[in-house]
């Protein structure tokens, strides 16, 4: 259903925005920007006002906001229904907290239990600015590391708020009974993660995501038990229902979801809809995401007029178990925490690499002096703890030069021999035992004796649906939280910050900001799902399903998805060029045709049908893949996880073009067969000086 939403991002405000900018920023850069805007006529701009960024100094914005926002009184909360889609860290914490506040919550997940959302798989930890280690941490420092780690492509106000509420998260989780690691004195322990020089990461063995999610799940379970949350498991949202208000403005008022067990399409009403559906990394087929993780909810929002922001920002995690065959279904992550003690290297000599690739020698056979600890060599200040994008590119660089250490030449070593010597095997086992066990089960090799082999893999997507400071999308009443939105990580996310953002959004941000919206909605009665808008949305969903089922072609869903994944990895992967991206778009267009004419889905639509589920998701992955390529092509610079080979320093580091690309690229849907429209949200750094990221000194 194409929406003809008349967004307020109007050309009329453009001039106001430009004028405003000229007064707030330095004259010279402002003129340059206006000039740049002129060249590409009609590019619309999102101003800080439209993004609802509160006034005042950085450190006071969130407090100011909370002091002045509108609230909903307890009697009215009972009359308002909120739909939350997803039960990961963001979804479960939001659903539980909204229910605690008194709203009626309808919560949906595709798994058989809310406890299984993919947040569960996060291993290493969660950041917070507690400064329990007395090593100089502060809210500002966490803010600064995050915004620098994101290569200055995130919004200052959002990131500062994230750092600010990080401390509340740790308090909350401890109160819920999350068993964080502790020191012998009984106080909480911390470790370091990439991109930081302090130890601010809280952890629960290598299962931090699991423990935090189970904390949120238990809070959610409590509210389900009380009847404040109605839980729908094995349900998949297939569309959002939009209904016009008395002013003719469309608002999100419900969803259409498919019961995955019976295949029945059902309708649900909500005064507001919150999407917490995670990222779209599975566009690449092989990723560290769970098999069912998908980007379909994002595409449904997008088709209703929500902007898709920075789709090209995808994180490639440096420490994953390398690919071993065509039948492979996923890539397994080895936690970043391993880089606290593990050292990354490849051989110095090409002939050693060749012998490793041929299986003639093992890593342990190569003497110390013939090892190239390339991260320590290139980045002496941060060493093995450089951010993920930097570590991944460095691994690719070595492998491209022929120094890869496994049979495919696509792996580097992560070595614990020095740590085992320094700390003893027991201490290493205590810290990383479960990860070592996981590695051994998969690879059938003992990492205590021989260095691990690792290689980068798609892990997380920083891009996502555009939201304002209130986490509301460009569609009224439609909110987006957690990995699904674009807001806090810029072009690269630091380790242990995903858990922080998911829980910040769900526990401490959305439950406040959504009230600013809902306070206007207290007079809106619960609507019947018999309204024509619901019927039409349901019909659209049924039509799409019928179209897919009718194809009856020759190819399985997975075979096409794997092909998409290869296109993405080869042409929209770690190193992108204008040419590779154009090739990708062409190939994706051809693949889209192939999908819509030759996919085969067995079984019936109105019953449990896993292939149909996958086909529906793949139809959206194809669109996302294309959008990623378009965005990457537009962004003629290298920043964070987005590396355009044309834009690099002589040393091979990412080269930003702040004068041209210091903006959020928001893509607006314009129809099934037309190109999306680019809308820019300029990122004017008011409080922080932008520097070239330097992890060398």
């Amino acid at each position: 259903m194409a929406t003809k939403k008349d967004t307020k991002v109007a050309t009329t405000t453009k001039k106001v925005a430009a004028a405003k900018k000229a007064t707030t920023t330095k004259k010279a850069t402002a003129t340059k920007k206006v000039a740049a805007t002129k060249k590409v006529a009609d590019v619309k701009v999102i101003t800080p006002e439209m993004a609802k960024i509160p006034a005042g100094p950085l450190a006071e914005k969130w407090t100011n906001y909370k002091d002045h926002q509108k609230l909903v009184n307890p009697a009215n909360k009972r009359r308002l229904d909120v739909i939350v889609v997803g039960t990961g860290l963001a979804g479960a914490s939001a659903a539980a907290t909204l229910a605690e506040l008194g709203f009626n919550v309808l919560n949906f997940c595709i798994q058989d239990s809310p406890r299984r959302a993919h947040s569960i798989a996060a291993q290493g930890g969660i950041n917070a600015a507690k400064n329990y280690q007395n090593d100089g941490d502060s809210v500002y420092r966490l803010y600064y590391d995050t915004i620098k780690g994101g290569d200055y492509r995130a919004r200052e106000a959002n990131v500062y708020r994230l750092a600010e509420v990080s401390n509340n998260i740790i308090d909350q989780c401890v109160a819920q009974g999350v068993p964080f690691a502790r020191e012998y004195g009984g106080l909480l322990d911390n470790r370091s993660f990439g991109g930081a020089q302090v130890s601010r990461t809280f952890y629960a063995k290598g299962q931090t995501g699991q423990q935090l999610l189970l904390g949120a799940y238990s809070a959610l379970s409590r509210q389900i038990g009380k009847g404040k949350v109605k839980m729908y498991t094995r349900y998949e949202m297939l569309d959002i229902v939009m209904i016009k208000d008395e002013n003719g403005e469309e608002r999100a008022r419900g969803i259409i979801a498919r019961n995955l067990v019976t295949g029945r399409i059902e309708r649900f009403f909500g005064h507001a809809v919150v999407i917490a559906s995670g990222g779209y990394g599975n566009t690449f087929f092989l990723s560290t995401n769970a098999m069912a993780s998908n980007g379909s909810a994002a595409m449904q929002m997008y088709r209703h007029g929500a902007y898709f922001a920075n789709p090209c920002y995808a994180q490639i995690h440096p420490t994953c178990i390398p690919k071993h065959g065509d039948f492979q279904s996923k890539l397994t992550l080895m936690s970043e925490s391993l880089r606290n003690d593990g050292r990354i290297w490849v051989p110095k000599k090409l002939e050693d690499a060749k012998k490793l690739q041929a299986g003639e020698i093992k890593g342990r056979d190569i003497p110390e002096e013939d090892r190239d600890y390339y991260l320590e060599r290139r980045y002496p200040a941060f060493g093995n703890l450089v951010p993920r994008d930097v570590a991944s590119r460095a691994a690719k660089e070595r492998c491209d030069k022929g120094y890869g250490v496994n049979n495919t030449g696509l792996a580097v070593f992560l070595d614990f021999s020095e740590a085992i010597q320094r700390l003893g095997k027991d201490v290493v086992a205590q810290k990383y035992g479960n990860l070592f066990q996981m590695y051994e089960k998969i690879v059938d090799e003992n990492p205590y004796e021989n260095p691990m082999m690792i290689f980068p893999a798609i892990h997380y997507t920083m891009g996502g649906i555009w939201v304002d400071y209130e986490l509301q999308t460009s569609v009224k009443g439609l909110f987006c939280i957690g990995e699904a939105n674009f807001s806090d990580h810029g072009a690269n996310r630091l380790g242990a910050s995903a858990l922080m953002q998911g829980l910040a959004d769900g526990y401490f941000v959305l439950p406040y900001t959504i009230q600013n919206y809902l306070s206007d909605q207290i007079g809106v009665p619960r609507m019947s799902t018999d309204l024509p808008e619901f019927a039409e949305a349901e019909k659209n969903v049924n039509d799409k399903i019928a179209r897919l089922m009718a194809i009856q072609g020759q190819r399985s869903v997975d075979s096409i998805h794997k092909e998409l994944g290869l296109i993405m990895w080869d042409f929209v992967g770690m190193g992108r060029t204008a040419e590779s991206l154009k090739t990708a778009i062409k190939k994706i267009d051809a693949l889209k045709k192939e999908f819509w004419s030759n996919v085969y889905i067995p079984g019936e639509a109105n019953s449990l049908n896993n292939e149909l589920e996958k086909a529906l998701r793949l139809s959206d992955f194809i669109e996302i893949g294309r959008l990623m390529a378009i965005d990457a092509l537009n962004r003629e610079e290298s920043c964070g996880g987005h590396f355009r080979e044309e834009y690099q320093t002589e040393e091979g580091e990412a080269l930003r073009q702040d004068d041209k690309f210091s903006y959020v690229a928001c893509w607006k849907y314009t129809g099934e067969d037309s190109e999306p429209e680019l809308i820019k949200e300029p990122l004017d750094y008011e409080f922080t000086e932008r520097k070239t990221r330097n992890y060398k000194a």
């Binding site: 009974g177 068993p179 769970a290 279904s329 996981m438």
Partner: protein
């Protein structure tokens, strides 16, 4: 060293909850032993789809042993013949050329079959909803370091908390008891000062719900802990019994 094997897979097929189930045997050639068990099922499903047959329905998601979604009985063991793993972490190197592998769904009264290898485990969620939490709302909580907790206690709570709720314990138990699952949550929270306050009430509520949902009683056979992919210890059941008795005495 991993190589290629030919196998037969005997799989439980059941069209729906009420339908009559049966075993069906499929032949698979040239399976790499480095593939995971679920990747082998993927290959089998691709084969079935190519033959325009109905693929096998099975639960799976994270494929790294933490979400608790996968739930297969392989050669008579929940999660298969290897120890301390989930089905998705089982690799084909545990099987030999020419072997016939039998795959069934969890078989437990409280986990009815939905289709083929997929079962309904909502009973576990319902037990959690009855008391598997600390009654604390978001906000207004003390500083995380306000209460020191001895490291051994925190570590023990962590071990209990590592349960992934997969249901292997109840599926392995000849009585279909959920005691290991319930005791893991009761222990985790009873060990920590934050959860101690409601420990007795929690134990009672969760056990009552477990009984109501048709799980059997515990007769200390220990099959649950032996098959648990996360090696959750039987000691938790002892702690649950203690908490439960305390609660009863308080009544």
């Amino acid at each position: 060293m991993d190589s290629y094997i030919n196998i037969k897979v005997r799989v439980w097929r059941q069209a729906g909850p009420k339908a009559q189930g049966h075993f069906e045997t499929y032949e698979l050639k040239h399976i790499f032993q480095g593939a995971s068990f679920l990747e082998m099922i993927d290959i089998l499903n691709e084969q079935l789809i190519a033959e325009k047959k109905d693929p096998i329905a099975f639960d799976h998601d994270c494929r790294e042993g933490i979400c608790g979604m996968c739930s297969m009985y392989v050669n008579g063991h929940p999660h298969g013949p290897d120890s301390a793993i989930t089905t998705c972490q089982l690799h084909m190197r545990h099987f030999h050329d020419g072997e016939t592998i039998t795959v069934e769904p969890w078989r437990s009264r409280a986990f009815p079959v939905i289709k083929d290898l997929m079962v309904d485990r909502q009973a576990y969620d319902k037990i959690m909803q009855a008391g598997g939490f600390v009654s604390v709302n978001t906000g207004g909580v003390p500083d995380a370091n306000a209460i020191a907790i001895p490291k051994p206690v925190a570590d023990e709570a962590m071990d209990a908390a590592s349960c992934i709720g997969c249901g292997a314990c109840a599926a392995a138990c000849k009585n279909g008891s959920a005691m290991l699952f319930v005791s893991a949550k009761v222990s985790q929270l009873a060990l920590l000062p934050q959860g101690k306050i409601e420990a007795a009430k929690r134990a009672k509520a969760m056990v009552a719900k477990m009984d109501e949902l048709g799980f059997g009683n515990c007769t200390n056979t220990g099959a649950c802990a032996a098959e648990c992919p996360k090696s959750v210890s039987l000691a938790n059941i002892a702690r649950l019994n203690r908490e439960f008795l305390c609660a009863k005495f308080q009544d």
